[in-house]
Symmetry: D2
Subunit: 380 residues, 4 copies
């Protein structure tokens, strides 16, 4: 993760977090450990917890024993923690009145607000967390909250290329199927859908895009994809992939119209874009491999599903998640946004807001350089 | 132009312009004649003039003699008209106090304002015309002005795919050069630059993008292009293409660093992105073919230029302009925007504004259908 | 033409043709003039004629007046020459008993044989000329004849990329049509067809390949194209392009099944792949532009044709022929093959034969270097 | 495997192997079991053994217990078999004097020849097995041996698209690395190299091809890839992938010139294209994950290797081998070639020979149909 490591090296000199505490709430695993190291290098004292059930305790051990982080980073998670421990840990971090909060889902910010604490500022990883702050805590958030996921860098690097590529990879990996001339219906032509459609075509698939926004649909057609309505693809799709952010896009009636052998895949964040629960009621899945199920419809058709309709590149066994380069980008946005919150020059308004332009530009430039661009020598 | 013709057929029934006059200022040639026919079918009485020197009088003759348009369309242009006649015609149209104005450069709207006339509403083709209204006539534009060129449809269909493809085509056409493994430096990764880079790569070129916005530069890199600064490309580029919208992007010093044989091409609207004037002073071009010049630099290097640095796909002999499908789209946006201005349901604010979403959606859907999408039968 | 010019520079030192005469029969225009210059630089005395009606007399004037070629190159063509002058010129060259023959269609070789002359060796540009030698003059050709067109370099550089790209370019140029989502049926998946299919897809077209050889058809499918039989494409193709080398591939019955608005294009050498003559009988074409005709079928459908079904990239007005790089390659193969015929080390058998491997390798390497490959400096 | 299953269904009717025995020597696993079932359906009595150490005994159990194959298929392998049992089994099958032999490496054919048995005919999976027959048993092979791997179908479907895609997939899977703008040096532009280069580019890599044959090198350049010599890529390659079929293409001296962090990958059949053994001597690998090693060079540079330089898509943990469609193709070629050997109409010569055209055509057509081609209904 060269971009994040470079940020950490810079922080070691500039010490933006000297004397400050950070309440940290993000999956704790080797990659986020690099983020913690960068923040500690910048002078931060960290009190941290992961999302429930995702903490890797080997990483915790490294962070709490390593000389550079040991005295500066406390991690509250314990093996076997359940909902009540999670709630207690959120309250416990809020009670330390951290100067800054790094959040993932807005629960730690909510705990601070509930405890009457107003940090100097916060970062929030998710769009849905930001939405919750605007809906449930409107008027209450008197400090800036930088929403990482809305950065245009994440749309391009993580959603289009990172997610798009890894979703298609995971389908191939789980099925060992060639996609050549397979008809793949991609529901949704947002950033993830654009990437899924692109990488499926790169493997020889015939992609048809289903998209209710006519402007995006026209973009898909100009990009060379077929465009159709749901009813036009259901009797011919070999593979259905959803990436819409909406529930019940592929409902049971649609599933029942699919041809024999069709495969159901969801790439959206929630597991409700395809009605796998409804399908399970009429045709319980039998497991063919850890992430692949076959459903025998009453009609006689066999329908296959991956990972029970959960987000395929993360939930499927063998799903490769996002490439390390996309993680490097996202965590560097986190690190630099935290620094901006305590930089008097930033002059940030209160409430949820996008990553400042200057940070997007800075991180984009650093990532370009890590890709060998902007300093390349050309042929003579 | 099936999309515009369909709009005209609809207007013939709905008659949105019945009893209304339209002051019309747009190039008058066979394609815009179809727009005039659609407006007349909708009940409009039109008084028209083209942009100076672009009027095709064969088209004028057809429009003024054809039974369907003859009585409903007056065209003021006469062969040989110069600046003074143009100014007089603008005043003359303004003096008729048209109910609606269709403008291209905001001069007709300015003439109306100067004459104290406030139309019900107007459309303006160009972004620069809209800019002028905001700068020079701020507070004065008490009626809605729909700016066609800002429509996301135009960005995708016309700028990226229409302009991008035709710029690359024109370079090949003028030079009869294969682009395989030619190193092409594309300055600017806006919509036009994205298309130019894409279509040059489709022909086997090695494209390097020069872009000062780091976010767009990162997008270019993720799209697979090399990204570099000006100084890194100047000693190796076989072809330089500018599409930045800024002056002096490739100045004389840069031109003098280019390798022997380099070709200069501008795809931006104005002819000042590459300093051809400066080049002419030190190395006057000798014409090799109507649009291709060779400049012998004092250093001994030969530099080639197309169309004196004017917008290549329009200005070069053999330049194919935009494909007819892009024209169909743009003129339909014009027609439907004019109808929206007199539709009481539209409820438009005063001043320059983007094309209403409902029109973008409507035109996008019509164009998809004209492309054979959304109603296609798939294999069984 | 850097590769041919480099060969000429080499010849100027090695003088392979010193004291030898070459009977030359090839289109005489600026590019072949560079070939003549290279041969003269190598010491040759040339007596030349073009193919009937293709000679450019401006080029003749340059060659016969320029100091370097004036005394070494006689050109027999005169403006207005017809079949009888052509036959006389062939006999006249044969009567000079040239040491080497460069032929294009095998007529000059045939004239030599008829006159009892056996040159040291010959080159023949075309596959059909070689075929004629094998059929009509079998056993009679006691000297080596190197057949240029069978070189694998020509298949790749000229047929796939040169012809493929220029055929698609010419269709766009003549029609100013966008190919996005147009359904294009490509008949034949040989080298030309592969290129046409590829470059049409690069412009956004939906390509369906019609190919009777199942292995090539499978290759097309693995390359991502749809594959179908004639009867499956005729009611839906927007554009039909033939590149099969066979007559009557698209016959009148097929044409009559095409949808309204379909466009007929031939990319094969002969003008009989599409039965335009039959079409003319039932629906005479009216000219829309110099190379574009509209045929009104009795059924009411309009069918369009380009260049009367002749080879589109050469015959259409605005067709760009092959890119200069493909010419450079082909003419260098000619020059080096002629040198090999008089190189005692070549040890060539009698009769028509492919370009020797060593020449293909040599020319391929030279062309790679002219493309900036093999000596490029990469980023550090 | 629809194509093989269809062949089996046809055999069930035509019974080409009725009364015949087949000596079978091929990996025994679920996919080859489908081949055994097809042969048994055609009337064959089979005596089989796998390649050493690859037999899956679950599959053996199914085949020996299933009603359709139980009485017609004897499998000699036992868990724990070593070289001496393998040799004994080869002799044992040869001693049964099978009418037909299906071989993989020519050892069973050699055992027949050694035992004085001449079968009616044989198939041999590998090119190297065919080579051995020509070298070591020349003049001795008095019966036809159809060499499956030389079929042009395998070049396209298996080598280019199957191997090419799965090699790149495996690199991504083992490293979780994004290939965007990574510089990947592909050694060899044969069928596998063509596919590797293509699929690496589809993932955003900058591919440079190293190829000693100038004609293939020129093809690579025309396909848009950079082309260079070994010395030009060694100081910049992020990833090196070999697919040449030659030993020591990347030797220790080359490895030592690679930049810090470079990754070594072999896609060739043998594990000697990259000198991993030499690398191990100077920089023993430490295992980072089951298939990924890091080598710390004395110079301080870190070099990574996958699967110790063995064929990556088969040998790496998580390598996905070939897609099932490529297996379907190859095994159907086996089945139909065996039937051709006993079809009196085939009239095959003695000795190793390619798959008959009629079989290639037949299997290509069947595969096209299984891909939904040739019978597709197009939009109206």
């Amino acid at each position: 993760m060269p971009v994040l490591v470079a940020a950490g090296a810079e922080f070691e000199v500039s010490r933006p977090f000297a004397g400050l505490t950070i309440g940290f709430r993000l999956h704790i695993e080797p990659k986020t450990a690099v983020l913690i190291e960068a923040l500690v290098a910048g002078g931060a004292q960290i009190i941290a917890m992961g999302n429930e059930g995702t903490t890797q305790f080997g990483t915790v051990e490294v962070l709490t024993q390593d000389a550079t982080t040991a005295g500066s980073c406390e991690i509250l998670d314990r093996p076997g923690d359940g909902p009540s421990e999670t709630a207690a840990n959120l309250r416990r971090i809020a009670a330390t009145k951290p100067d800054l909060v790094l959040d993932n889902g807005a629960e730690l910010i909510a705990a601070c607000l509930a405890g009457g604490h107003r940090p100097v500022g916060a970062t929030e990883e998710t769009t849905s967390g930001a939405f919750r702050l605007r809906e449930e805590h409107a008027g209450n958030v008197s400090f800036p909250v930088i929403v990482i996921n809305d950065s245009p860098l994440k749309s391009i690097v993580e959603n289009k290329h990172g997610v798009g590529e890894s979703v298609v990879d995971t389908v191939v990996r789980v099925t060992n199927m060639s996609l050549h001339k397979k008809r793949i219906a991609v529901f949704g032509y947002g950033w993830c859908g654009r990437g899924i459609a692109l990488y499926a075509r790169q493997r020889g698939a015939d992609v048809v895009v289903v998209e209710i926004d006519p402007i995006k649909a026209l973009e898909a057609a100009m990009d060379g994809f077929d465009v159709a309505g749901t009813s036009q693809v259901t009797d011919t799709a070999d593979v259905v992939i959803t990436a819409t952010g909406r529930p019940d896009v592929v409902n049971l009636a649609t599933i029942q119209q699919l041809p024999d052998g069709a495969l159901l895949v969801n790439a959206g964040h929630d597991d409700n874009e395809i009605d796998i629960r409804g399908l399970e009621l009429v045709a319980p899945g039998s497991e063919l491999s850890p992430s692949l199920k076959r459903h025998d419809l009453p009609s006689g058709a066999e329908i296959f599903s991956i990972a029970d309709g959960r987000i395929v590149n993360l939930a499927a066994v063998g799903g490769n998640g996002n490439p390390i380069e996309a993680m490097d980008l996202g965590l560097t946005l986190q690190a630099r946004s935290l620094a901006a919150l305590v930089d008097t020059g930033s002059d940030l308004a209160a409430g949820p807001q996008p990553v400042p332009d200057v940070i997007n530009d800075n991180v984009a430039t650093a990532m370009l350089q890590s890709m060998g661009q902007m300093g390349r020598t050309y042929r003579t």
